[in-house]
């Protein structure tokens, strides 16, 4: 069974903002939407590595700060004409706490 790790309160992330979870092998961006949903994606744009946590969020999409590719937070897929995808991680909210699947961190560690 998978384990979840408590990484903070949903209110630690301002609305429509993102914060980082650092792992041994890269950063995961955790997004909070206007409707209080949370998403976790690699903080690395497949185009040229832009830090997605720094983009502008709208609805459930994020626009990369470097060259404006837009990704769906649900699937990590690029929208519109661009092609590519960002890895997403299992994350959920429980009573205002953000829980990330420990595999997310373990995977990043197993990656080497």
């Amino acid at each position: 069974m998978s384990n979840y790790i408590d990484i903070g309160a949903v209110t630690d992330i301002p609305i429509r903002a993102a914060r980082l979870v650092k792992t041994m092998h890269g950063c995961i961006a955790v997004f909070r939407t206007a409707t209080d949903k949370v998403y976790a994606l690699d903080d690395k744009c497949p185009h040229k590595g832009g830090p997605l946590s720094n983009g502008i969020q709208h609805d459930e999409s994020i626009t990369c700060p470097l060259h404006n590719w837009v990704f769906d937070l649900n699937t990590g897929m690029a929208k519109g004409a661009d092609e590519g995808s960002v890895r997403t991680y299992d994350i959920k909210l429980d009573n205002g706490r953000i829980l990330i699947n420990s595999d997310a961190i373990a995977r990043a560690e197993a990656a080497e």
């Binding site: 209110t11 609305i15 206007a34 409707t35 502008i56 999409s61």
Partner: protein
Amino acid sequence: MSQKLIIIGAGMASGRLIECLIDADPNAYDITLFNAEPRGNYNRIMLSPVLSGEKTYDDIITHSDEWYAENNVTTIFGEAVTLIDKVAKTVSSKSHTISYDKLVIATGSAPFIIPVAGKDLDGVMAYRDLDDVNNMLAASRKPNANAVVIGGGLLGLEAAAGLKEQGMNVTVLHIAGHLMDRQLDPAAGYLLKKSLEEKGITVHTEGFTKAILGEEEVEAVLLEDGTIYPADIVVMAAGIRPETRLANDAGLRVERGIVVNDAMETSEPDIYCVGECLEHNDQLYGLVAPLYDQAKVLAKTLLGEPAAFTPVEISTKLKVTGCDLFSAGDFLDGDDREEIVFRDAVRGVYKRLILQNNKIIGAVMYGDTADGAWFLQKIKSGEDISDIRDTLIFGPNFASGADADPLAAVAALPLDAEICGCNGVSKGDIMAAIDAGSNTLDAIKANTKASASCGTCSGLVGQVLQMSLGDEFVLPERETVCKCTDLSHDDVRKLIVAKGLKTIPAAMQELQWNTSCGCATCRPALNYYMVCAWPGEYMDDGQSRFINERVHANIQKDGTYSVVPRMWGGITTPDELRAIADAADKYNVPTVKVTGGQRIDLLGVEKEDLPAIWYDLNSAGMVSGQAYAKGLRTVKTCVGKTHCRFGTQDSTGLGIKIEKAMWGAWSPAKFKLAVSGCPRNCAESTCKDLGIICVDSGYQVLVGGAAGLDLLETELLAQVPTEEEAIELTQAFYQLYREGAQYLHRPYKWIAKVGLDWIKEQCVENLENRKALSDRFEYSQQFYRVDPWAERASKGVDAHEYTPLADFTKVAAE
């Protein structure tokens, strides 16, 4: 012989359970009902009408003492069960220990009391049962008493409305950005807030309670942002938690709630559960409709019949008079989902449907919820709506071709609303001219002067024409801000001011945006228009800014940042240079570069190091150079008459004065200046947004240059005799540009649109207006001439940007 059934908790769920059991087989069980409250089942959801005075307790009793007696239910009220002994099969309260064959736990929920200092003071209460309501009513009898409600969800808002009805001054604190964030999207939340405010309730969103103040009794509530609200009572409506203590102690399987299977059996034989205290398939339930279904299922289980609980979509309504809202299903966006949004700003109506694979999966409505049930039905049935999709949002009664009205925003303006600011022409004036026979834009221009000057209101004038003349008038095509709206930048700017719109959700609602929260194009534009229109009032929305303006540095291709401190007029000192050098060493800055703007750029700084490097630069007296801003950038200067043999005036000194007066200001696009000491023009004044060339007789103020994507020479705005006038004219020009240009247009583009002659009329010929513009700029500068670096380096603003939420690199390293 009938079996002994004990039920713990006389709430909404167990009330229904008992009815179902007795209906099916009155003799199957010998029922004993415990309740912690000193009373039996009543309709908890009608507590709000009791609080507001519309109903009394007697009106909401569902099961009276007589009813229990007639149906042979033994009641033990006013006594909480404190122990379940699952081996001996008994339950105990203070004065009873009773054995059971079957046990039902129906303990409902406990209010969540947020763990802040002062939570135990007298006057802090929850909103859960009749006693709470009585306490609130008692408090409201004191004249002019203050109530603070923590929590802007369903419960909190009902409490707030009830307390307001009772004459209290009510403030609602809500941590999210909009009310009822679990049920509503931001647009509907905005409308709800608006109608509560119209009732006189104060709503503070993003209000984080820091402490409840008072000695013994509560006196006030202190928020993290320093706001203090006086309070005679504090109502905690911040959420509920399943009441699982008994089950926990008894060793039943409990996650968030008491875990049950489809038949409502807990992990323990002969122990069952129903209501808010249970968890089924990872799901909790907090509304009565599903609890009633659970009660039916459990009655069957208890009677030995197979039954399974299957949750269905439920909808929410708020029982506050005048706040008509409806929400059902899943209303979040997603890749495979589409939305249909309908807004009618005039009537304050907002409807949004979420579709997936041609089925409705969610609906949010505010203002007109008449069709709620119809949509809920469609969500439940999951029927394919492709055939009726075009007219779906208009509901079941859709007959004619009624369509969202693009002219609604203009129609809603009062007659005295100013449409043309340059010439002071109101909507009423334009309508009068139309009545008198003017039926084209040109005729209106000629007869009223509306849109005869800068022309940015021609879109609105056209809409007034269209509204009055209908199909006879065809609006010229124009560029909209983005796909989220049918309005142009000019229209949006004017309507924000005319309608007094002071938040982005307000603008999106009132201007009938057709997406729920905009996009990366319109949000930064709206944010700027608000910053410009409402200095000191508007709360800047960082999440609507591009990253550079959000973190006050320029993002680099590798995700690091560059840091450029101001160097006023290009002048620096050995101390500043030493501090820059020290900072470059300390933070391992890979590149130190002299920029084209006469200052020094530290490139390649890690985001996490930004506050620290700013702190060091601040300590040496330097502030942000705003090299990232759609705002005032640099003022380049040449050495001028202090040193140069050709210099006519103190160009360096003037440049520094201008930069010190104007730094920190935001504008539609970046704004760069230069001051040269003579026409040799060593500061390159003739290709700037505004350049000054000093001459013997004064100062030539030049505007509209470009040296980036386009190359353009400036044109003369005016020559003025004194430094003071040069500064005032510079500020007046900047303000005119700030108030008029569309987002991302540099001045030269704006000038091409409105014409230099018009600009001269505004700030050269009309001295009074020049002064007024410059005053407005000064007013705005009180709020924006603030170093954003210091705010972040020393005051902790936006700390979340620079620190990770969690760091597993250190843990794993051990």
